[in-house]
């Protein structure tokens, strides 16, 4: 069946495969299992963030606060494990709950106080970062700063099946469920409707406030999962965790076909987008191009993606006819 949530990432997937093929032929050290493992480890959390970011973007919004939510959830974990000595079975749900609450608060500011998403999440980006500093166990108990977390459940996340890290499977589950949510549920249709034509959605009785809050909650939840992945790998957390990560996540989602206009995109594209950025960054490094050229290339890829989307596909722009 045809639906807006269908997966139109054929071009992106081809581009991704071609890029991988090029790097494989250019660099022997790129085509090793170890390197693929590095890419999967290094960018699975980015994929999760990008999938989460797709929800606000589908609504025509944006979530700039995810980097701060990652830090906040990470610090909650740090405090829970190291200050209170709680087990993972308690701390992990609390971390995720914190990030969901932060996401819902974003949604409330946007629908309740009617702030523009960009502004609301810009402000909460500062607030959540501030809260992270305020609750930082590193500051309260400096002796804990060098201690690492040794909870079995948490560390269990930093494991592998062959070359595949658990984090990658987590990403697959998140992306799969998100795609199911978007493509096959009424909530998904509501998201596309709100993003595609807000007024039509309102008049159709779609609960816009609730839909918005849920989308930002999902974005927050994904930030919590990303924090979980990062903390399990580092076995600690820091106040400056995830600074600037929101821009990469947004870039990955856009490269993955989510349009900032809202109403078009899916949950699979952002995953490919995240790994495309990862492959290029790591590939360039292995080919011997200086690290400083990488942001330049990331920027050019982003421009290329949006140019492709707007100029080449935009010819067939969808619109509601009015006059003749």
């Amino acid at each position: 069946m045809k639906s807006v949530a269908r997966i139109p990432n054929k071009e992106l997937a081809i581009f991704f495969i071609v890029t991988v093929a090029i790097f494989c032929s250019l660099s022997p050290s790129f085509r090793t299992g170890e390197n693929f493992e590095n890419i999967l480890v290094g960018f699975s959390h980015m994929g999760v963030l990008a999938v989460g970011q797709a929800f606000p973007i589908l609504l025509g919004g944006i979530d700039l606060s995810v980097g701060s939510i990652v830090a906040l959830a990470g610090m909650v974990g740090f405090d829970g494990f190291l200050i209170f000595g709680l087990p993972g079975a308690i701390v992990i749900p609390v971390m995720l709950a914190t990030s969901v609450v932060a996401g819902i608060f974003n949604g409330v500011l946007i629908t309740g106080a009617r702030l523009q998403p960009f502004v609301a999440t810009l402000a909460t980006m500062a607030v959540y970062r501030g809260v992270t500093y305020a609750i930082s166990g590193r500051q309260l108990f400096p002796e804990l700063a060098t201690r690492s977390i040794d909870d079995d459940l948490l560390l269990g996340l930093d494991n592998y099946v062959g070359h595949f890290p658990y984090a990658f499977f987590l990403l697959l589950i998140v992306a799969g469920l998100s795609q199911l949510l978007l493509a096959a549920t009424r909530f998904g249709r509501d998201v596309y409707a709100v993003g595609g034509n807000r007024e039509a959605a309102r008049l159709a009785g779609i609960p816009i406030g609730r839909t918005t809050a849920i989308c930002y909650a999902i974005s927050g939840f994904c930030a919590g999962l990303a924090a979980l992945i990062l903390v399990s790998r580092m076995t600690t957390s820091q106040e400056n965790l995830g600074i600037g990560i929101e821009l990469s996540a947004i870039a990955a989602a856009i490269v993955g076909g989510a349009s900032l206009q809202g109403g078009t995109g899916n949950a699979i594209g952002p995953v490919i987008g995240a790994f495309l950025l990862g492959v290029i960054l790591i590939g360039l490094n292995l080919v011997g191009i200086t690290t400083y050229a990488q942001p330049v290339l990331t920027g050019l890829i982003l421009l290329g993606a949006v140019y492709y989307d707007r100029v080449l596909l935009g010819r067939r722009r969808l619109r509601l006819g009015k006059s003749q």
Binding site: F118, A123, V127, A134, S136, A293, L302, Y307
Partner: protein, 325 residues
């Protein structure tokens, strides 16, 4: 003078006049009074000058940003532009035996060129501004790193260059003077020139502006160039103030600048906006930073307070706007 200006706002921007122009000064006064009561030194001349001194860099960038936001755009790339301008100036000073004129000209020219690229991509190719400037943010940051590496570059002389950031004229820091001149210039630009009226018109209704014979793409492109040049100037001030330049200056500064502009009642959806209110927004951020600093509020609480005050101020100024729709 104040009455005159108020009248101008009411004439040109009825919506902004109704909301930000009444609510924002009120918030400013209340906060100012609060800090003055808690810390009388807040009202001292030195402290007041130091507030402006602190916000001069953000303020100058906010002027250019106001026009960009009014045209329905946004410029996220100003942080790296600030950095690259400083780095280039340092480089030129180094290579040309301290030619200040050449260094400043090169820095401003490069900034303007980056603005031109942003403007062309947004206005001619009609790509979404957030994505375009997010991309140029990345590209310019990378370019600055390629040019200068991650190290600090010391700027020792010449005195004329250091004057930009550290000199004083009649007791006023030169950067404060630049801020005041910028404020006057941009206010004039907005209200008394064809370009200013065109910016408002393009932001209000782009299609109608096009059908009225305005050159929409050119107006937008100039707005991006101005914004980028402001960032370049800010970069010069910063580098000359701290006697160093590095490719990593200005990380995240775009968000402070945008916050100041939005506090000033400029809608991210384009259209309404007013330079005088942007100044008020900038001052609000300056007063919050300064007051909380004087009160020895720890940095994390400052972050929380700043975010909350921004949310609160916007929630108040947005209210009437919501009722209208």
């Amino acid at each position: 003078m104040l009455a005159e200006r108020r009248r101008v706002w009411l004439v040109w921007h009825p919506r902004a006049a109704l909301h930000a122009s009444t609510a924002l000064p009120a918030v400013l006064l209340v906060l100012g009074a609060l800090f003055a009561i808690l810390k009388p030194v807040f009202l001292s001349q030195e402290n007041l000058i130091s507030i402006v001194h602190q916000v001069a860099i953000i303020g100058i960038m906010a002027f250019g940003m106001t026009f960009v936001v009014m045209t329905g755009g946004i410029d996220l790339s100003i942080g790296p532009v600030l950095a690259v301008a400083g780095v280039l100036a340092a480089e030129v000073l180094d290579k040309t035996a301290d030619s200040v004129a050449l260094a400043t000209a090169a820095a401003i020219a490069l900034s303007g060129a980056i603005g031109l690229v942003n403007g062309v991509l947004v206005a001619r190719l009609k790509l979404p501004p957030i994505v375009v400037t997010l991309a140029t943010l990345s590209i310019v940051r990378g370019g600055a790193l390629l040019m200068a590496g991650p190290d600090l570059h010391l700027i020792r002389g010449p005195r004329a260059f250091l004057f930009i950031g550290s000199g004083t004229v009649a007791g006023l820091p030169f950067s404060v003077l630049l801020f005041l001149v910028g404020a006057a210039f941009f206010t004039f630009l907005q209200y008394r020139t064809r370009f200013g009226l065109s910016v408002t018109a393009v932001g209000d209704n782009e299609r109608a502006a096009h059908l009225s014979g305005l050159t929409v793409a050119r107006v937008k492109t100039i707005a991006y160039i101005l914004c980028s040049c402001c960032a370049g100037l800010a970069g010069l001030i910063q580098s000359s103030q701290v006697h160093t330049a590095t490719a990593t200056y200005g990380m995240g500064i775009e968000l402070d600048v945008i916050a100041a502009v939005v506090l000033g009642g400029t809608s991210l959806a384009g259209g309404s906006g007013a330079i005088p209110l942007t100044i008020a927004g900038v001052m609000l951020i300056g007063i919050i930073d300064n007051g909380l600093g004087l009160l020895n509020v720890p940095i994390e609480m400052q972050l929380i307070a700043k975010g909350s005050i921004i949310i609160g101020a916007l929630a108040i100024t947005n209210r009437d706007l919501v009722l209208e729709h």
